[in-house]
Subunit: 326 residues, 3 copies
């Protein structure tokens, strides 16, 4: 992308040779975490290793102090309490400190007319790393281009939410034990969800992956991702039969089907909603029963809350890597 | 209650034998702090002892580090800045860290449809203890039933606010020097205030207590509490003459009389309001002059601001006990 | 002022003899930081020296721990994210802890009817220093009169914002290297900005200062400041020609010209706005090129973002001085 060619912010994925090992004390390859495309398989694997170390640290009574004296700003232009608390817990579990605002729009109030770039230049003077949530696609990249300190994208509107994508892949690896050769069902609204699109993108980095798309017609996975998968040699197929798909999958990743996507066609919504929910009936059809979904959280095989915890470990790992290196 | 019989959350009050001593290092008897009924006289007394130790710690320059490495989430579904700051100060005075949200409703926004239980399962992954404020009665109990970490109820709608009840009793003991045999005037709106109801409930645990209810007819203390007091052998009487009552009391606890409780009868409101305010005239009629009220704070005998500080000590004590034990 | 004669809060500026040195460990002369008038030239100079030490501390990896165990409350009655983050960063860079509320109005909600004084008495029980932002002029002084702990005014409505005034003077000294004998252009809306008024007031403490006022007729500097400058022997002149003024200045301090000040006269606004913006054309006319302004931040000579950082150092210095002394 043109972005990769401009300024200090680089996507290093292309530079990383396979089988490189990252030595303790080495610099982290990334200056910022802006989009899922920055990560190749080798970096992912090394990050996941650090995340596993973080699980051990977090279980220890009283956490770690490796980030003591470091200060993180959570600069949120819209509230996202779940994401914010996850990052803030990650920083504090490592001994770091946090400046919080969910009111960052106030910086750019009409009276002040301050640009995002102005705000970033001010906030970077107060802190060592910025975690930013914004309502505009591309905002995180602009922030990273401006800042001389690391920026982590905690979601920029309909754009990217890379730490979510990483934690999804990490959760699948933790639940299933591997990523090569897995069979994944992506279920629900596949057209609009940035997380399911990023997940498909990242899964393409692994060998022998098979993806099943299960969705109502109106919210089918878009062609760009399908073409990308095909170009990477990833097999995929579409199906309307969730139970049959589930019986072939190692893991089912379910996104919520939102009524507002169906407009006037409430009949289609009601039909779709009933069909594509992972319930106990579907679970019993699965072989390995790893499900990442909001809907069946009473079932111990549903990885949803373990997934939230995995998000903590991934964020601890990224904070450590961006501030201290490997 | 049925609640005592279900799940892991237990009200241990009934199990505690009298004259038991709590040894340093023993586990705290309670997993969570949900309602005033959890506390019997012996636990109250032991908690008050810890609160006294906290007074010493807090006065020391630079506080304590006994909760260093522990993380508390203040999960507020509605703002209550006073209560939140009190808990957060308590945690930080002991060296602990805090994750804050006054925006917890955002978790359960329509788009996400997340239940309180879902939120608790997520937040408990980020933290060691949850202090929750909610707008629905019973919410704290539901949270405690779900969480595997301690939950403190910081007020759940018209339900309970147990740390407030504890600090009221603690304040009376600190101001008067004892709880057995005290004479307490409860003044103002006795029908609607959860704090005055909890206070009456807790005072019943002490011997020889006498309670005077002074209130306008429309906001009289309800029969359930009166019957409870009678069943516990606590003497009480009702009076319309605040000055006469004050002359017999060790302490007067005054709640605000709110206009909206009187509906159309503004005349009754105006009459009631004028009658039941503890002013200097009333104070001079009292023997020991301990007043817990908002109205006479210019007077050194009014314990209101000392009461706020006592709330800090009680909360420090509870955080210490729930996280570290006795 | 009458304020200087009442209560414990004092403006010590008058007591300070020239050439006094402040020894390490001496008490700070001020109990609170409420208004720019509290600072004389000698204290300013000593504070700036501490601020320079803070620059060194802040650049050190992992900051300082000199305020470890101290707790600051940012009690904001209206949001001001920039100011709040600056203070909170200052406290945390020194190892201190923070309680935050941007929701302080909630204390005095109609239902509770609590006064500012009541709130301060409660909050001072939770913390060691209060940084307050309020919407009413004079609120900071009232808070300082009430509190037994230091209060810093972080802006009280149209009143004072003393830390902003200090950082402006500090920035000029850092950019130009001295304050005596400097020539300063104050440009833009000079009638309404409290910062430009405080700056003129503080500059009058230095020798041989020359001030140029450049503004549209409707928002000219008011007579009170002009008379004050004259009484202190400070030379000033008014001009409508920014370029000519710039060619004579060491530093230009520009405030935004706000449309709403012009009422119906949009024509005057449009004319004024075009005339009084420091652009590259103006910059090239200047000799030393130090500009404090929002408008030309792409230019390395614009001190705006260095100014934000200077604010951090000034606030670190004040927190240190108020809590620990010299």
């Amino acid at each position: 992308s043109t972005w990769q060619q401009t300024g200090r912010l680089q996507c290093r994925a292309l530079d990383v040779e396979s089988n490189r090992t990252f030595l303790k004390g080495d610099l982290f390859q990334l200056d910022d975490v802006i989009e899922a495309q920055q990560f190749d398989r080798e970096i992912l694997s090394a990050i996941f290793e650090v995340a596993r170390e973080m699980e051990t640290i977090e279980k220890k009574s009283r956490g770690s102090q490796i980030l003591k004296g470091y200060l993180m700003a959570t600069l949120f232009y819209e509230p996202s309490t779940r994401t914010r608390l996850s990052f803030e817990s990650a920083m504090k579990r490592l001994g770091g400190e946090v400046l919080t605002t969910e009111n960052a729009r106030e910086f750019s109030s009409a009276a002040k007319g301050e640009t995002l770039e102005d705000t970033i230049r001010t906030v970077e003077g107060y802190t060592d790393i910025i975690v930013m949530r914004h309502f505009e696609s591309g905002a995180a990249r602009r922030a990273a281009m401006t800042a001389n300190i690391p920026v982590i994208n905690a979601g920029d509107g309909p754009g990217q939410h890379p730490t979510q994508a990483l934690l999804d892949v990490y959760t699948i690896e933790r639940e299933i034990g591997r990523l090569d050769g897995i069979k994944v069902g992506l279920v629900g609204d596949l057209a609009n969800g940035r997380t399911v699109r990023s997940l498909a993108y990242l899964l393409a980095k692994y060998n022998g992956v098979k993806i099943y798309f299960v969705s109502p017609e109106v919210v089918k996975m878009k062609d760009d991702i399908k073409e990308y998968l095909t170009s990477k040699g990833v097999k995929w197929e579409e199906s309307a039969n969730l139970k049959e798909v589930a019986s072939k999958c190692d893991v089912v990743y379910q996104t919520r089907i939102q009524r507002e996507r169906f407009g006037e066609r409430i009949d289609l919504y009601d039909e779709a909603r009933g069909k594509y929910i992972v319930d106990r009936n579907i679970l019993s059809a699965m072989q390995k029963h790893a499900v990442i979904t909001l809907e069946v959280d009473g079932d111990p095989r549903a990885a949803y809350f373990r997934q939230a915890k995995n998000g903590l470990f991934i964020r601890m790992a990224l904070l450590k890597l961006l501030l201290l290196g490997w």
